[in-house]
Symmetry: C3
Subunit: 673 residues, 3 copies
Amino acid sequence: MFYGGDYNPEQWPERVQDEDMALMRAAGITAVTVGVFSWSWLEPAPGRYEFDWLDRVLDRLAAHRIAAVLATPTASPPPWFSLAHPEALPVGADGVRLSHGSRDTYCASAPAYRAAARSIAAVLAHRYAEHPALALWHVHNEYGTTCHCDITAEAFRGWLRARHGDLDGLNEAWTTAFWSQRYTDWAQVRPPRVTQYLPNPAQVLDFRRFTSDELLDAYVEQRDVLRAATPGIPVTTNFVLGDWVPVDHARWSREVDLVAVDHYPNDAGPAAEEQAAFAADLARGWARSAGAADWLLMETAPNLIYTPDRMHTKEPGRMVRQSIAAVARESRGAMFFQWRAPCGGAELFHSALVPHAGPDNRVFREAVELGDRLPRLTEAAAGRVDARVAVLFDEPSAWALQAPGLPAQVNHRAEAERAHRALWRLGITADVLGGGDLSRYAMVVLPAHYLMSDERAGRLRAWVVAGGRLVVTYLSGVADEHARIRTGGYPGALRNLLGVRVEEFHPVPPGETVPLSGGGTGAHWTETVHPEGADVVTRYAAGVLDGRPAVTRHALGHGESWYVSTRVDAGGLATLLRTVAEAAGIGPVCADLPPGVDAVRRRDGERSWLFLLNHTPEAHAVRAAGVDLLTGDRADGIVELAAGGVAVIREDPASGRVVGASHAEKPGKPSGR
Amino acid sequence: MFYGGDYNPEQWPERVQDEDMALMRAAGITAVTVGVFSWSWLEPAPGRYEFDWLDRVLDRLAAHRIAAVLATPTASPPPWFSLAHPEALPVGADGVRLSHGSRDTYCASAPAYRAAARSIAAVLAHRYAEHPALALWHVHNEYGTTCHCDITAEAFRGWLRARHGDLDGLNEAWTTAFWSQRYTDWAQVRPPRVTQYLPNPAQVLDFRRFTSDELLDAYVEQRDVLRAATPGIPVTTNFVLGDWVPVDHARWSREVDLVAVDHYPNDAGPAAEEQAAFAADLARGWARSAGAADWLLMETAPNLIYTPDRMHTKEPGRMVRQSIAAVARESRGAMFFQWRAPCGGAELFHSALVPHAGPDNRVFREAVELGDRLPRLTEAAAGRVDARVAVLFDEPSAWALQAPGLPAQVNHRAEAERAHRALWRLGITADVLGGGDLSRYAMVVLPAHYLMSDERAGRLRAWVVAGGRLVVTYLSGVADEHARIRTGGYPGALRNLLGVRVEEFHPVPPGETVPLSGGGTGAHWTETVHPEGADVVTRYAAGVLDGRPAVTRHALGHGESWYVSTRVDAGGLATLLRTVAEAAGIGPVCADLPPGVDAVRRRDGERSWLFLLNHTPEAHAVRAAGVDLLTGDRADGIVELAAGGVAVIREDPASGRVVGASHAEKPGKPSGR
Amino acid sequence: MFYGGDYNPEQWPERVQDEDMALMRAAGITAVTVGVFSWSWLEPAPGRYEFDWLDRVLDRLAAHRIAAVLATPTASPPPWFSLAHPEALPVGADGVRLSHGSRDTYCASAPAYRAAARSIAAVLAHRYAEHPALALWHVHNEYGTTCHCDITAEAFRGWLRARHGDLDGLNEAWTTAFWSQRYTDWAQVRPPRVTQYLPNPAQVLDFRRFTSDELLDAYVEQRDVLRAATPGIPVTTNFVLGDWVPVDHARWSREVDLVAVDHYPNDAGPAAEEQAAFAADLARGWARSAGAADWLLMETAPNLIYTPDRMHTKEPGRMVRQSIAAVARESRGAMFFQWRAPCGGAELFHSALVPHAGPDNRVFREAVELGDRLPRLTEAAAGRVDARVAVLFDEPSAWALQAPGLPAQVNHRAEAERAHRALWRLGITADVLGGGDLSRYAMVVLPAHYLMSDERAGRLRAWVVAGGRLVVTYLSGVADEHARIRTGGYPGALRNLLGVRVEEFHPVPPGETVPLSGGGTGAHWTETVHPEGADVVTRYAAGVLDGRPAVTRHALGHGESWYVSTRVDAGGLATLLRTVAEAAGIGPVCADLPPGVDAVRRRDGERSWLFLLNHTPEAHAVRAAGVDLLTGDRADGIVELAAGGVAVIREDPASGRVVGASHAEKPGKPSGR
């Protein structure tokens, strides 16, 4: 079980390390991440290395049996590098070359940067290959830097050649017939620099894909250097989530030995737990699709939640509970940013296990408590979360929907979170996937999955025919993989599967709703839906669409597909998803789960562990039977959760199957795959 | 009657053109605009032309008796052009040179661009001069691009020399004594690039005027090339409205053979119809002032209204009604952007007559309906709208009022729209003019006409003396044509004409109002007004101006001038304008017109056609007698309009004069001109 | 007594000067500021001077016995200078070099600019050294321009060398161990240009300090040139306040012969008077700390208050009252921007004593009234405001708190104004200081004094030990002078002095409050406070801090220190400050002062003058006895103030000591210094 955080002893006099070691021992820390931003300390001048300090840090860690997650420091090249290689500083869309003085000041396409990054990685690997503290390589930090320079432009052209073959292919994929953008020589093709008016959305989308692949190349180069030197040490990099991040993590997940994510919720209320659950189920989904077992929460803030205008302190107990919630969802532990709060730099008020005020502090005391709790969960690590519902989250679709000129703004990630939240509140555990094999799932939700290739549409169809239950919401399937609208009627690639043809979109003004025949409302978006094989489940009950279909269901083979043409209110969405889930033989993890209480089951063959997390300020009782790993107490049918309390129940053998009916083989389950 | 839209067959496989022709015939399309953004398809490399595809398009059109509005493609130079002539890419105020990859990526002052534009225009003209489909030349698209490069700077200096003579003239006109900006060498004079603090407003204003003239030169060059090749074919360019557009359309109107405007309302509610009426009355006003007969609505969205955050679909029937409303105001037809919805590019969700979903669609069905209705109106095309009220809309005043540092923000166009709306709601048809001869009008409204030359002030005075009735609102006449304040008391150039002297402006905070003696309120702006010959009509009734004049009237010669020193509430403004109109012998087009029903009369000698447009969701009756061109039904005194309905009544000979008293010769009418 | 304003005759035909002189005489003008932006008029080409016009202006002034505040014109170099020295144009953080065409288009580090500035100053000084009108040198205008160019970078490095010694010192002060920013060569060190993500806050802070010092150098160079030529003429420059201004005015105050400030409130309501009182008390504080007697309000708007969206006219009488309020606070007069409203330029609607409408105007009539009143106050100029409370306002703290990444946004100036306002409403006069000797004060308030050196903390401690009463609010003392957090517990450098240790910050969401045991509320910010010697005065009464200390008091030596860990509501803050003031023997200037009536006493030995300013629209009575200098009327115990009225009472000898008990020697006063 990983428990620790980013550790930057280079920010402090060396004597502080002794206190660090003592405090880490007191808190039960098992692993720390070192070296993330240490390049200028490791290599203060080109080819001149200062490793003594890091040697001593790793030696101390080893002496205290604390594992080192050793980072390559390539996310922040030193000032000397920028001066020696100004062409390796990133350039904005406006052509302004950025300066050093922050972090991430590099162009991933610049040969000098690539060479320097490989070199420092190789030197590190060579030096510490045999060090007993070394447990995991942490390449770089939060890949996500975009550059628009001329070197990048050349790399982009190479990538486009590989993707589109020739200029005819490019012109067709990008619809350059629009606004006279036809390219007749590769030299004319550029990154989307500032231009007079709206850019070409296909160009923007491809540039984002290219950036993802270019960064992935940079990662893979380092990974391969590290693997060559230390074949036995796993290699990863920490993913960061965010609308601005030009990284297709589903694709990247196949290249890491352990999916590691950083997660910082941006809402201090109960939504933080929902966001964290989404992120965890997404990380697990990425791991699942890549064939991996578990994942790791590599960074989160111990005690703060950052909203745009301020930092909020977590209530007592919340850090421990959130950490166990991550473990419930298969995180291999709980790693934090950061161990000790810095006294300077750009993030000097970021949260830390050892705050500015020192260890005589609520936060550190909770860290000690967490260090006491986590080891008790070790046996549950063998268990797998066995979700039978998947929510598809497609980062290229999210990017494409950020283009200007959509009928109304739709955020793919927000739509995915909305669907996930509805399931979470129903007590139904879902994997959030970037794609891949769906055969393990009985139900799949496609929220505003804007881009849809023929190949993906075909796989979805086959999965439904085999018995899958699919729920598709508006703006899915509308465009092909080049963000070109599929003509003939929305939702394009999914029309036949859904048995509908949509004639027209009707965005709804903010604050307005449209009543639905079922009693709820739609908002934000409505559509003129013509059933072409589908049954009408719910109709619009006013306005220009009065009486027309809002929600439809289409039986196909052994499965069925639902289409939801509007943003159904939360209650309505829950009802719809529960209906589909029940038909698919999927129930909640626990019956009668109180609102705000999170339940996740990890299962290993006959054994199962039920994680119960009471995110509310009231006490609650939950039906379960077994032994609480945290307290050793037995529960014979009812677990009493204190306000904010947590229980991890090693369930009595029969218990899991009785209370949660989720694994019964029902007719609706896709078979044979 | 033009009926059609922008047609871009180059975006589709050629086979789609056959469907296009069939659908155009089905919809009764009479004209399409081709080639607007086709440069890179027509000239894929410098001097290498590919016209075959366009030949076939035009041949098909001719075969189907559809007229071609043939565009020069110069609004979007191809990527090869930008690479060959990087100096012809536009530069922002911050000095950043923009990239291709959108549209309008050109500098109108760059010789290479000018030469390339003339050349492609000449080649097109030569090739299609005799083509039977060719009906109208459409130069460029929505001129409006501003550039701040060094080539532009040199052109700006040339323009300034012509305008101001020498540097002394420039220094005086720009008040360079303020902040030490005195120019002592022409080389020092630049476009308003980014600077440390507030720019010189006279420099900014002149740069906008220069840009208008420079773009006009570019237009005229192409026009003359086309005229030389095809003397019989009229030439135009489509105007676009917007606060950002650096084009003085009143001036441009004299250089086009047909005033053509693009109009996209930005409010989905009933205000869209008011905005469209303003735009139409403005286009007609520009045409009138240029001595032309009618104008053409060259672009509008068939089925969508774009607001800043989303697209709204028009209710069924609204497209047809809005189109007939444009014809009512003398549009020579109804052209749309666009024929077929593109599947890619930056505007892929823009509205089209053939939507993504294809012709089996409400929008296309309405297009067919419109194509059925429009020909029925042909006889009315002979009629002229004979407005006797003019609202002056002065684009340079609008630009000058965009400068920072005004006492409060006043948008000239919004003020003009406000006055126009009040008249529209009274059923009084107005021309919106950029200036020119006023002798045909009995009443003129000057809304926040900030800039006022002595010459224009003199013409206004002469018009009033001859019997005109003038209504002037605050911030008019305050500055001269160089945006220099006229000292001695506001409203400067209009003081004597209005018989008032304003001592001080008192902007009113947002949300606050000042009661007026008449019962209504003023808002946004108030003034300390001293009558100097004028009578006080309304007084402020509270605050620091309590008891002082708010609205005055000044008799002069055979006419009179009103001054409105505050933003009177809508009801008060309507009362005021009706009072003045009645005194001028002007009444509504129809008596007892229900709110939301629009009435416009076109008259040709003894014949007249009354257009009645019910923009409300309720049925209404209007007094009229004659035959409805749309249905052939007679109305003997009462026309019944369905909710959203339209009637175009060929009025019985006596009818027009009886119901609308607007053309009786009353004492108030200016005579002798 | 200075009474006048900025005078720009170069903006007008010379004949206007005759009217100017007549009007100035009519208004009793005593001084005008000339030449502020006249460079291009004085030196139209390099080395070619045109002084005739200015000769005649100064001669006219002398003839009319009006003093000249003669400015060096260096705030706005002429266009010819920018063309000759493009490297002297300022560069933004994005690397964009700005253009001329506004004002302040210079780089203060550029040798060419410095030389040109010294040169024009020397030429001016030489020409007018003996001119009888010359009374005061006004160097430049509102220093505050930041540049990021390479010349500046070199100067910045020099400044950093002087401040930090070597790169080790710099690396430590800037915490470059964070994000790998370690500098290993001075050439790597740059101004904070645009970078990829958050900048280094210590770098940003030092760059702002450097800019202050660099501008100060530029000022001192000119001052020394002027002093050498005219030893008897005082030299100043006008300070401008604003969050963006990179000038440490407390430091600058030591280099001017007269502290001169420009003040423009940004709220049109009663807050304008509070802002003006703060600015005046701050100017006086700066003067005090520099050992000077009084100061001068060099610019304010006669009749307008500028808020972000509009200009508000002052109510009748407000200009006169505000001017006397400045004199009450020791301004050596009332100078305005500006004499005559310009008819062009970027500020063409700025307020003026002679408005656009000319002298037949309420504003000019009030100027005449003010000219009549001010001389009556001459005798009071001998009096000093003897504040015994100081509010510390530390501009570097304000800058440091503008960094991103604070737990919540706290504006140091707003916090200082908040404390000052509470005292103002209590009728307690305070000096606002940038630091310096505190021995004259019995009470000091430190509002959010984020940066705190050991040296300043030590001086505060000594002052408290000697009997001072200190009130410290949250976020004080937290960081050292390099903006590095002091670890071990907040408020860092002040922990021992305050007898508390703060474990954790808890920002409060906007709109929320936390109840306090005293009955009021806290907002925005709360803290976990542990008393370590201090007594708890008030506790939090709900939430996670329920029952914990909110306000504490710590006795130390002869004095005591209060700590306020939250933003106490206005009433609670007033109560707290009154309690502390009473313990320090400080009472209001007048007993029973009605809300909104401002009272300030100037004292000269036994003589005293009580300024009473009724900022409310109601009449009020105030207890005072003596003769009103404005009217000559006696008051025998009660002064009746009309709505908006003013009285300046030459107090009967006993009166000042009886009514205002503020100068009695109470035990609380620090002694011996």
